[in-house]
Amino acid sequence: MFKKLRKVKELPLIIVLVVISIFIAIVNPSFLTVENFLDLLKSNLVLAMMALGMLLILLTGGIDVSAASVITAVNVILGQTLMHVTQNILFAIVVACAAGIIMGLINGLLISMLKIPPIVATLGTMSMILGIVLYTTNGNWITGIPQNFIDFGRIVILPRTLADGRVIGIPIQVVFLIPIIVLTWFVLRHTVIGRGIYAMGGNIESAERMGFKTKRIIIFVYSLEGFIIGLSAVAHTSIMRQVDPNAFLGFEMQVIAAVVLGGASTLGGYGSVLGTLIGVSIFSVINNGMILMRIPTFWQKIAVGLIIISSISVDMIQKQKEEKMKVCVDVEGEELYAV
C-alpha cells in the first residue's frame, strides 16, 4: 500500500495541498465547510478547465499565451449570439465551441505549418485577437444576457436547504468541468494520439520516426484546447452573467502557473490531469486562504509569492532526492533498492 502510494508522482503536491489546507482550517474553521468548497469549486472551475486545455499544450512542448484572449473573444461572440441571434442555449454552446476551435486551429496551423515557436505564435495571435476584440467592443461590457441563460447558470445540482433557508448545491457549471476532466484524461491516457502527445513531448524526432504525424497532433491539440476554452467561456459567462472584455487580462499566466505547479514541464512530455487539478487546487486554496486567514491586504501578494516559490522548491528538492535514489545498482552485500 505504502509502496504503491510512493509511486504516485503527484504525492508531494498532494502533501503541499493538504498542509496548506490544514493550516488555513486551523486559523479559520469555516474553510472546511461544504459551502466553502462549493464556492471554491464555482470560482475556480474556469481556471481548472483552462488549465486542462493548457496541459495538453504544455505536454507537446508548446505553450499558449493567447488562451486568455481566446476566452475573451469567445465570451464576446457568445454574448452577441445570445443577445442577437438566438436564445437557444445549446446553439450558443455550439457557436462558442466552434469559435474556440477556429482560434485554436489558427494557432495550431501557425505552429505546425510555419514552424513558429509556440510562445511567439501565440504571443502574436494574443495581440491580434485581443486587439480585434477590444477594437470592436471598445471594452464595453455586454450586459443584458437573456434571462434563460442566466437561469441556466443558476441551477444547482443536488440542492440542499440550509438552516437559514438558502439552497446550496453543486453549481451547474460542473457539467462542463467534469466532461472536460474525463475527456482530457481519456484522450491522454487511452487514445493513441494522446500517447502521441506525450511521445512528441518526450522526443519529437522519435515520435515522427515511429509514425506519429506530429503536425497533425499539434493542430489537434490546439484545436482541442480551443474547444475546451469555448466551453470555459460558456461556464464563465453563465456564472458572471455579463461579458467584460477585460476580465481575463493576465489570466494566461495564472493558468500556465497552475499547470506547471501541478508538475507539468514547460519542455513537454511530463504532466498529468490529476497533477493539474492539484495545481489548480493549490492556487485556489492559497487565494481563498488569504482572506480567510485574515492576512492583511498589503502582505497577501508577498505571502502568495513565498508560498508558490517555497512549495515548488520543496517539491523540487524532493524530486532531486528521488532522482538520486534511482541511480541504483544491485550492489553485492547491500539491500536492493527498487529500480
Partner: protein, 326 residues
Amino acid sequence: MQSKLKKVFSSKEGVLFVIFVLIFILMSILSPHKFLSNYNIQSLAYQLPEFGILSLSMMLIIMTGGINLSLTFTATLSMIVGGLAMSSSFESTGMAFLSVLIGVVIMLLVSAVLGMFNGLVVSYIGVTPMLATLGASTLFEGISLNITKGGAISGFPFMFLNIGNSAILGIPVPMIIFIVVLVYMWILLEKSRMGAAIVMIGCNPKVAEYSGIRVKKILFQTYIISGILAGIAGIIMASRYNSAKESYGSSYLLQSVAASVLGGTNISGGEGKVLGTLLAAMILQIISSGLNIFGLNRYLTNVLMGFILILVLAINFITDYLKKNK
C-alpha cells in the same frame, strides 16, 4: 564582396535590418514633417533605451533556456527601494549629488539582489525558470506594494531627472547608457568565456556540466546580470517618470519576450544576438511611435504588432525552407 553582402542580407539580422529600414521609410513618407522631425527622432532616442535594455535582459535569460517573468517587477522594486533612500536622504541632508549617488547605488544593489534571488531558486534549487520567476514577480510586486502602499515614491532631487531627460553633446543620456549596455552585452555574449558558457548551457546543460563548466554558478551569475540590467532600466524609468511605482513598465514584459524572439533568440535557449534584439526593439519602437503619431487606434496597433511578429517569423521560415530546397 557581393557574396558577402548577400550573406549579410540573408542572415536573420539582415532581414530585420531591411524590415526596419522599410518601416522607417514608410513612416517617413507617410508623415515626413512629423515622423522625421528632429523632435520625434530625439523622442525615439529617449524612449528606446529602457525597452531595449529590458529586452536584452530578457534575451540573456532566454538564452540560458529560461524566461524571466519578474523582469519588470525587478526594475520597479529596485527603483522603489532606491528611490525611497534617495528621496529620504535628500530630504534629511539636502545634498543632491550624494542622495542621487545613494539612490542609484541602492537601485543597482537591490536589482542585483533580486536577480540573485531568482538565480538561487532557479540554479541551486532547480525550479523551472518560468515558475520561479512567476512566483518572484508576485513576491516583488507584493513587497513593492507593501512599501508604497499603492502610491508612488517621489521627491527626487532635480539632478536625478538628468539621467533620463538630458543630453550630452546632443545624445540623450539614456541612449548613452543603452550604448554602453549594448557594447557590454555584445562583449559578454560574443567575446567572453562566460558568454560561450551561457550559450552552451542554453543548448545542453548536462554537456556543459560534464565539460567542467560550473553550470549552477554561471546560471546564478546570469540571473544577477539580468537583474542588474533590469535595475539600470529601472533607473532610467524612475528618472524619466520622476517617481517610482510598482506598475511602471508592466507592458514591457511580454514585449521584451517578443523583441528577443523577433530578434532571433531561440526561445529554447542557446542562441541569441545582441544586434538582432536591438533591431527588433527598434522595429517595435518605431511601429508603436509611428502609428501613435498617425493616431491609429491603439488596438489596431496591437493587431498590427502581432501580425508583424508572426509575419517576420513566417518570412524566416519560408526563406529557410527555400534555402534548404534550393
